[in-house]
Amino acid sequence: MAIEILLPKLGLTMEEGTIEEWLVADGAVITIGMPLLRLATDKIDVDVEAEADGILARAVTDGATLKTGSVLGWLLENGESAPNGAAPSAPASDSTEPDAVRITTMQSPDQNEVVPSGGRAFVSPNARRVALELQVDLTRISGTGPGGRIVSEDVVEAAALTVHDATGGRPGKVLSPLARRDARDAGIDPAGIATDDGVVRRSDVRGAAASTPQTNASAALATTPVNQSGGSLANSETTSIIPMKGMRGTIAARMLQSLTEMAQLTHGFEVSMDAVVQLRADMKDQYVALGVAVPSLNDFVVRAAALALRQHPILNATIIDKEIHLLGRIHMGLAVAVPGGLMVPVIQDADQLSLPELARATRDVAERCRSGSISLDELEGATFAVTSLGTYGVDFFTPVINPGNVGILGVGRLRDSGKWEGETFVRTQVLTLSLTFDHRAVDGAPAAEYLQTISQLLARPLVLVS
Amino acid sequence: MATPTEALEAVMPTTRELVLDLHRRMVRIRRFEERAGKLVESGDMPGFLHLYVGQEAVAAGVCSALTDADQITSTHRGHGHAIAKGADFRPMFAELYGKTTGYCKGRGGSMHIVDMNRGMLGANAIVGGGIPIAVGAAFASQYRGDGTVAVSFFGDGATNIGAFHESVNMAAVLNLPVIFVIENNGYAEFTPQDRHMKLTDIADRASSYGIPGVIVDGMDALAVRDVALVAIERAKRGEGPTLIEAKTYRYFDHQGIKGMRILYRDPAEVEAWKTRDAINLIEAIGVERGLVSAEEFAEIWAQTEADIEDGIEFARNSPDPDPVDILDDVYTS
């Protein structure tokens, strides 16, 4: 009997979704758990996986936008016809997709890095040599080296994946094209991912990525506006095309919306972190002894930012029809870089949480974003947001406000500085806060006062841990 | 000028053999230089030459007092010292032509003639550069106790360079068997002596180092030989170095025969020095004292001419160096 493939409702507010692309051909033999299609919502993009075995009969085509619960297709038994009467084409043999073609179309390298404006891909000489040896097409690889350069490790990793492609996967390993892509993005060898049934799904790759030391290159994308260049680039030699859809499309639309609808400007503000660093060091052993996650410096900043919002409610607001609505609860959005984009999970009532609770909640949502297990509900309802690029070495930047908010706080790199104490020049550790605010709601001075409050809290951090 | 010639005459008389020997050395130098100068001016020979013509008595007089085991260092104007020390025309011309059969296999050219078999430790194109090296050669003589000496030839201009002062002082301190021979031709390149030092007699500089300073007529080969013998004996007795200033003159220009035609000296001055020509002087002595006939001197000129033609012929017919060997002898392996 035909099993319906329905458009799932992934969050409380989700009403519709777009078929980004079918991942398997019409008439393909499907086993349970196999990713069938890629679904885009306005927040995230997800794979819809088969809930049963069968032969795929598609009901809709790529690009269709449908209400949740709509029928997208069926999984049929052998010889069965689709309910709408359309008989699926004959099942294809084992290999349903020419992988190489699929890889080309699905490849989404970090274009800003691989193909700079000049059209030249930066590839280390050794990577070129190794690519020639291993027969790897460099245009299909994202660079992870300094400046986005493709280094030999990228080629070796890509070659390992290509070998799997050619052989249809190692014995016992069935890899979906998207999982393969994700693995490549995350720099993970899918052959090393253990699954119960030998099928490596995207969720498995995400899980593996989350448990791998974070070497994510995607953060730079997070605040990079989409290039809308109107000039002719005819002689720039496009080497690959990345469709701006799914998460990429969502980010593009929301960032453009933010920057066109708001009057955004940014204050840079240097704060001393000496007291926080000292306090954290003092408390570290106790936290460890108690089995409690040691709060990061960023957690201190988020905590201070949340507390300070209580004193500066103008920044915890939303603009609705020429009215500024000050919001009573402080729900903190936290920008999290994930492969291929950015998510902003929300911590409800962040100002009510103790520092260890905040630390735990932050880690939890970040990990679930990276593993793909975050729910759509948890990505909704932020009243303010914090984004950190400090670990990437950024000091000052201009974060883009999430639509619906009036502010976002950027956290820069902890760095050494010096200051005069009387006649002595002493070492001090500082970081730069970058507060972007919507000038329609917030003026420069109140924005600065909010930063001063954060600075004062960080200077006397005992209050943050109380 | 103080010359010990008369005193020495008793123990080292001027013999027929000595006159012939000095004459031969000087004629060979002169004709070699004149021919080589013409060959460069005609474009037949590469590079440029610092010619020794006029100063022959200094090289001939000193070198006639040395053995092949004694070492000399020379200057950019070094053909005369090499020839006086016994160098052959064939490898000399070959070197000037840049041929593999040259003394330096075509690597050194005019300014770097070397003949280790005859104690010619090399001509040196850095003014004063050979002086410390002669001190080192003398150090080796002393170290080995082999009874040899070292001589450094250099010009009046070189006595203004630091290496001269360091070397003479050190040789004096270490009591080394070395003779410093200043060939004072009155010019440091184009600058006359009174414009490059306050001294009239450079031999006076010896007093700064506590060694003897001797002045000799550099146009008189016999006189030069005599002071050289005294200095050599002194060195061999372990009494240290001597500074000899030979007053002489360069007939040709600093470089080439006609040089750059810069008028930095009076033509009358050149002519005046030529009246005291060293070869004329030795021929006059030989004939006057009945030691050597004019015909015998003429025979030396003729033989020299033949040797020169032979040398040029040899050089022209010698193979050029092969560029594939350009790295040979940078290092001793």
Partner: protein
């Protein structure tokens, strides 16, 4: 072979004693080398053992010291001429680069100059601009010279013996700051030839080519990096002329990333030569630009805080290696 711990300067001194005992043609000459034993005590005991004919004090006359060595060497002796501080090389430069270096070639191979020049270079002792320099690139630039920079007591002994036995003009540059550094040294006479690099440490992620004392700093950095899971190979060329580029290239082809570290100023330093040769011969094996870490283009400053900032050290080496290996 019996091996025990000796300081760098004692190891050098032992090499001098043994090679002078072996070869009567070897003599030592320089300022305060005999009675005083050298200002760094490099030559302690030599006068007593070998006497005033073979161990000779001189006036302060660097040109004449080297020139004497050139002349004596041309006559077949094996002089060791000491220049005390490497900065004084400049005073004697004509004899070094116009005479010693060129005689063999200029005289068509008829003369060999088995001269050894000893001197002490390097910064780190507040000796300021005229007693701290590292001028190896100057010397290495001259065809005919050989230049070694021992980076351990073992090499200090082996390289001075190798230098004296070499038939070419050699310069052995001791490092002042390493004089008291201890390390294993065999008692027996042994020789390290010039032009054979030392793989100080094997590794797989990056290569550090370190010159002179920078080898010691590189080793410290490598230990830290190893704790962080980064495996560093350290190559000490030992002699910068001749340069054992083959060993460097082999390493580069293995690690694909190279840092060249020296105390001398970066501009025109030996690191520029090494970098250039690497990119010419192993371009297709590089995953990152060949990188140099060296002194800024300034004379060596006096104040300790300035001098520390001037000379590369382990933390900076470590930071650059991390940057070479950075992946996003």
């Amino acid at each position: 072979m019996t091996t025990r711990e000796l300081t760098y300067v004692k190891a050098f001194n032992e090499g001098m004693h043994q090679v002078m005992a072996e070869d009567p043609d070897v003599f030592l000459i320089g300022e305060d080398v005999a009675g005083y034993g050298g200002v760094f005590h490099m030559f302690d005991g030599l006068l007593t053992e070998f006497g005033g004919t073979r161990v000779v004090d001189t006036p302060i006359s660097e040109q004449a010291i080297i020139g004497l060595g050139v002349g004596a060497a041309a006559r077949g002796l094996r002089p060791v001429c000491d220049l005390m501080f490497m900065d004084f090389v400049g005073v004697a430069m004509d004899q070094i680069f116009n005479q010693a270096a060129k005689m063999k070639y200029m005289f068509g191979g008829n003369v060999s100059v088995p001269l050894t020049i000893t001197t002490a270079g390097g910064a780190g002792m507040s000796a300021a601009a005229q007693h701290s320099q590292s001028l190896e690139a100057w010397l290495a630039h001259i065809p005919g010279l050989k230049v070694a920079m021992p980076a351990s007591p073992y090499d200090a002994k082996g390289l001075i013996v190798g230098a004296i036995r070499d038939d070419n003009p050699t310069i052995v540059v001791l490092n002042k700051k390493m004089l008291g550094v201890k390390g294993p040294v065999p008692e027996e006479l042994y020789s390290i030839p010039f032009g054979v690099a030392n793989v100080v440490r094997e590794g797989s992620n990056a290569t550090i080519v370190a010159i002179g004392r920078m080898v010691v700093e590189a080793e410290k950095a490598a230990a830290n990096l190893e704790a962080a899971g980064i495996s560093v190979e350290i190559i000490d060329p030992r002699s910068v002329q001749p340069l054992d580029i083959d060993t460097i290239l082999t390493s580069v082809k293995k690690t694909h990333r190279v840092l060249v570290v020296h105390e001398a100023v970066e501009f025109g330093g030996i690191g520029a030569e090494i970098s250039s040769q690497i990119q010419e011969s192993a371009f297709d094996y590089l995953d990152a630009p060949v990188t140099r870490l060296a002194a800024p283009f300034a004379p060596v400053p006096f104040a300790p805080i300035l001098e520390n900032a001037y000379v590369p050290d382990a933390p900076r080496i470590e930071a650059v290696v991390r940057r070479l290996l950075e992946r996003k």
